[in-house]
Symmetry: C2
Subunit: 352 residues, 2 copies
């Protein structure tokens, strides 16, 4: 492999390979039985003198329970898995941070898998987590249908979807109302007397949120009796590149839109970049409405109007819902929890 290593420093180090101590070692040291020690480890009552004995032994032997063995017999691991569609995206990263924090409060471990936008990898990730015997799974899916989740339901493992639902099966899901959020965003543009409004969104065939947000755009436009010519509807993928290219094209139209709704974070980034490179000013020449406030609104001048999702609450709610199911206190029915969005106002929308 051609790797840019500049130079390499080496120094000697010792290799030690101590076998970890087991509950059996504690038995030897304390003279107690396995059962008693196990009971102590699981918070049961043991005589104070024995408790002290055990604690001392644990200390001395650096004992740590083997979670594999424990999981093998109890069939639970106090670990939940999360499958994200792209760990490099700030949206996923932010959600993961909140999920991790919420799980930690509940003393649950977290196991993260990245699907890298690939349905095959996504399905593999699911199986990986099942094999790791996680107690439950949170999925931010790329697949639009429930097929890849079959192994999970077969294994009887609780699942909660986050950000996007899937078709074909009703599964607990925490998300926003994408259609409504888009509708509100576009309506704001309309209220500011914009008539030529374009949208940049991800491909409706493959991407749930893109599809819904496009619907919301159309709802608002139709309600106001405004036209939605095909050249104003730019759809392809969920990428910075596309946002950039789409905005370039929009700006060069003879009938240039006066406002553009950039319907996801990546596309917003790319589109802003295109506007910056052009000779046009925002909002004087073009008004902008973005989606998902991940830093973007702060480092771009002027401050962007944008749709914001309550990411912390979404992560926490997903964890809460999942843990309820894990603990058997979940409802018998599937629940879709639809979080509120709001529009954060900046200076990127001109009142015409």
């Amino acid at each position: 492999m051609d790797c840019p290593a500049l130079w390499t420093v080496t120094s000697v180090c010792r290799k030690e390979n101590a076998m970890p101590s087991t509950i059996r070692d504690i038995k030897e040291v304390t003279g107690l039985s396995l059962a008693t020690i196990s009971k102590y480890l699981n918070g049961g009552n043991v005589l104070p003198e024995n408790r002290l004995l055990i604690e001392k032994a644990i200390e001395e032997l650096h004992y740590e329970p083997n979670e594999l063995a424990r999981g093998l017999v109890t069939n639970r691991t106090r670990t939940v898995g999360v499958v994200v569609y792209d760990i490099g995206s700030m949206f996923n990263g932010t959600l993961l941070r909140h999920i991790g924090q919420a799980l930690r409060k509940e003393k649950y471990g977290l196991l993260i898998c990245d699907s890298r936008g690939d349905e095959t990898v996504e399905a593999e990730n699911i199986r990986f987590l099942i094999n790791k015997k996680v107690d439950g799974i949170i999925v931010l899916p790329i697949s639009r249908t429930a097929g890849f989740l079959r192994p999970v339901s077969e294994a009887g493992i609780p699942v909660v979807l986050l950000d996007r639902p899937v078709e074909g099966e009703t599964i607990d899901c925490v998300r926003i109302d994408n259609r409504r959020a888009a509708y509100q965003a576009v309506s704001l543009l309309i209220r500011n007397n914009h008539r030529r409004i374009a949208i940049i969104c991800s491909d409706e065939e493959n991407e749930y949120t893109g599809f819904e947000r496009l619907k919301g755009y159309k709802d608002a436009m139709k309600e106001a009796g405004l036209p939605t010519p095909p050249e104003y509807i730019r759809k392809r993928d969920h990428s910075i590149e596309f946002g950039y290219e789409a905005m370039k094209e929009l700006l060069s139209l003879k009938e240039r839109p006066t406002a553009v709704f950039m319907s996801n974070y990546e596309v917003s980034l790319g589109a802003v970049m295109a506007v910056n490179e052009s000779d046009l000013g925002c909002p004087s020449d073009i008004s902008l409405m973005g989606f998902d406030d991940l830093i973007l609104s702060h480092i771009v001048k002027p401050r962007l109007h944008m749709v914001v999702q309550p990411m912390k609450e979404m992560g926490e709610k997903a964890v809460e819902t999942l843990l309820l199911k894990i603990r058997g206190k979940g409802s018998d029915y599937a629940t879709e929890i639809i979080m509120k969005t709001r529009i954060s106002e900046g200076d990127s929308v001109l009142k015409l």
Copy 2:
């Protein structure tokens, strides 16, 4: 909990809870012995007829090996753990993506833990991974000393550090030469005849990269015989907020610097935001040099000059090094691999 759920849709769903099938079920169906089946599962040779028999049974029973049981006996899990200091940071996210990709090629599973910038959590994450019996660990540490890694060496688990080394023990590490990278960045500013050059960096007490980069800055300034007054050295934490505040302060100095070296990604974001909000133009009034090209250079106008690290190669190299150690082919000595950095030129540095 007060959560902004707008409304809730519910629908009935069935709860099925099939016990997963085991190797024993396959034994019953095929009439073969456990050993033969196990051998097949692990890629050994079995008679073609038996192979077919087994494959059919696996298909029918939806059999998946229980990795917990397997790990318990083999003492390896074909899984590596990664501990990052902040999963919400794009730097970490990008590195993770490359690591995941590299591991996947080698058929290794990945287990990600987020330390959220907290040394206590970091130590816990390490123990979590040990208990999960991962075969090796990659750490992007926050702690500056090796103490938290003791359990790892006690357990005899291979470790590779990424991005930052630690003190107190020599451990394999993949990183850049931070001091040199900073030196080169500041030298470029000096070559453009800047004399009043400031730096924004993270706290030298607590943060390795911040410390090294500050040294590089001082090296370059000293070499050129330029002064480094305390008010030009802004150090605190690795945060957007600090970048913002520090730049505000720098811009309001009576002797305003003509160039600023923003020595990490978060600080670069914040600082750019401050410049954008001011009446000053870049590069006409102030020249900027950033660190880590994670989108930032594209969406900010003018395009930023920045130090870039070869993140893909770093992730891959860390994986490669770790796998060598896991497979026992690692060297007896610790290796520090220092990757090359380069400066990506934009339009944010004015030639005076």
